[in-house]
Symmetry: C2
């Protein structure tokens, strides 16, 4: 029943952070097009650097589609002005995602305000979890008008203080149940195996999510040892994640979209971009 | 209802790994005794370096008791000989814990065989989770004869590949329910806040554990940023963990034992041991 990726990379998508230090986004799109890669997931700063309209045009010309748009979120703020700025920024992200015809906006929800700069304003993770719920609820209204699904991405617990206070698939799905009990398709999850591979409830929660809540599927690998909490992700096949087994689970739940490669890695950023993309294609066929 | 730690360190315990690079265990015990610290939790290699009988004698002389003994576990093995060696070693750990009159043997359960050396023999985390269950079940028989409770310590998910495939309190308690449904007191958990602070189900699962399964309570802090996956733990009060709130939860569940300081940190290992112990006492009173 599982799709066979071994003889084609029809369902490969490249998250453009994977080669962000090698190339600007216009070059990344060209290099993907040249290799028959049919989808990408770009980051807002990369889009802004090239220009939104130009990127939209280039995607149309090359026939490359998006598997997601990175990213909205970072809802918890130090004060009311900060919260307003965050909500405004999320609306802009939705507008951009619409312009680029993204299937979803990925949400990295944020956590303790100030923690990303090493100076947390407070330590109340329960409070920011409430604020994230409220921020998503507020953003959903606009997202619904714009027909842009929001994909909550649970991040690895080692990033709970700075980047996301949603750290398991179960927690993300509990929030989906609360905010979208009708399963409208407007709210779901991005399953990034790097963040969730360790979870003893992974298979169970993927099944619970189902097709209407599985909005994105990200792959890379967990290296042994891992030397950095942020930028030491591995190429698929170089670590310990059972990627194909997990792809079987998401497909059994009804997911039929792209397998998106997202590798934050000082090592891979130091390699020629051509080599990285070629290897992504090879490993996509071999081990994803 | 919560115990007041502000004017006494009666309930402070020092996990002796905290000053392992400064001193051998006999010196650590002396330094603790000098400061009125009434409990420690030593590691097997530290005990072996000084001699089990000598440590037992010194504890008796100083009146210092144990809050736990570190550690048993590491059940998954590459082959049958490896498994037998692991089970034998766990029995020896129980014997030592008995000799030292420990209230429990802490289990770091292990994970993918070979991963700790950077060469995992396989990647099947589901399989090692079964092996851990079987290993604990086998070890419980001897532990029961020796009246030595076993405390499963869930480790942070960032250590899931190498050190422990039990990564949440819920998972540990599910195992307790399976292996000791009668809640005999012979199997429980060690709650180390460093490993579980991020868990959205922490409060709920502590309540579920209850007094008969809360065998140990470990504290330190999560630094922002954290620069190393293993040896960058913080002194209580220097990070983002809401330690007192969590102590309130374990005490509400009936826990009335020691608050054990366990700090793996290149920074604190580089400081004079006297200063580290003095600060542990100070922070225990101020923020624990």
């Amino acid at each position: 029943m599982m799709r066979d990726f071994s003889d084609s990379h029809r369902w490969l998508s490249i998250n453009t952070a994977t080669v962000r230090k090698q190339w600007a986004l216009d070059r990344i799109i060209d290099e993907c097009a040249r290799r028959g890669i049919r989808a990408i997931s770009p980051w807002r700063d990369q889009v802004a650097a090239v220009g939104l309209d130009r990127v939209a045009r280039q995607l149309k010309e090359t026939g490359i589609e998006l598997s997601g748009y990175c990213r909205g979120g970072f809802f918890p703020a130090a004060d009311a002005a900060g919260l307003k700025a965050a909500l405004d920024d999320n609306r802009r992200a939705i507008d951009e995602a619409r312009t680029l015809n993204a299937p979803c906006l990925v949400l990295v929800v944020g956590s303790l305000p100030g923690a990303l700069n090493g100076s947390p304003v407070h330590r109340d993770i329960g409070r920011v979890r409430q604020e994230v719920r409220d921020g998503i609820a507020a953003t959903m209204e606009y997202a619904r008008q714009m027909a842009m699904p929001l994909a909550i991405e649970p991040l690895h617990p080692m990033q709970a203080a700075e980047r996301a206070c949603i750290n398991t698939l179960e927690q993300a799905l509990d929030l989906c149940d609360e905010l979208d009990p009708a399963r409208s398709g407007g709210l779901g999850v991005a399953v990034d195996l790097y963040h969730v591979w360790w979870d003893p409830k992974l298979q169970q929660q993927i099944a619970r999510a189902g097709a209407d809540r599985l909005l994105a599927f990200h792959v890379c690998d967990w290296l042994v040892p891992t030397r950095d909490l942020l930028n030491d992700r591995g190429m698929m096949g170089d670590g310990v994640i059972e990627i194909r087994k997990a792809r079987g689970w998401v497909e059994a739940a009804g997911f039929a979209g792209h397998s998106e490669v997202e590798i934050f890695s000082e090592h891979w950023w130091s390699q020629p971009g051509e080599r990285v993309l070629d290897l992504c294609i090879e490993r996509h066929r071999q081990v994803v």
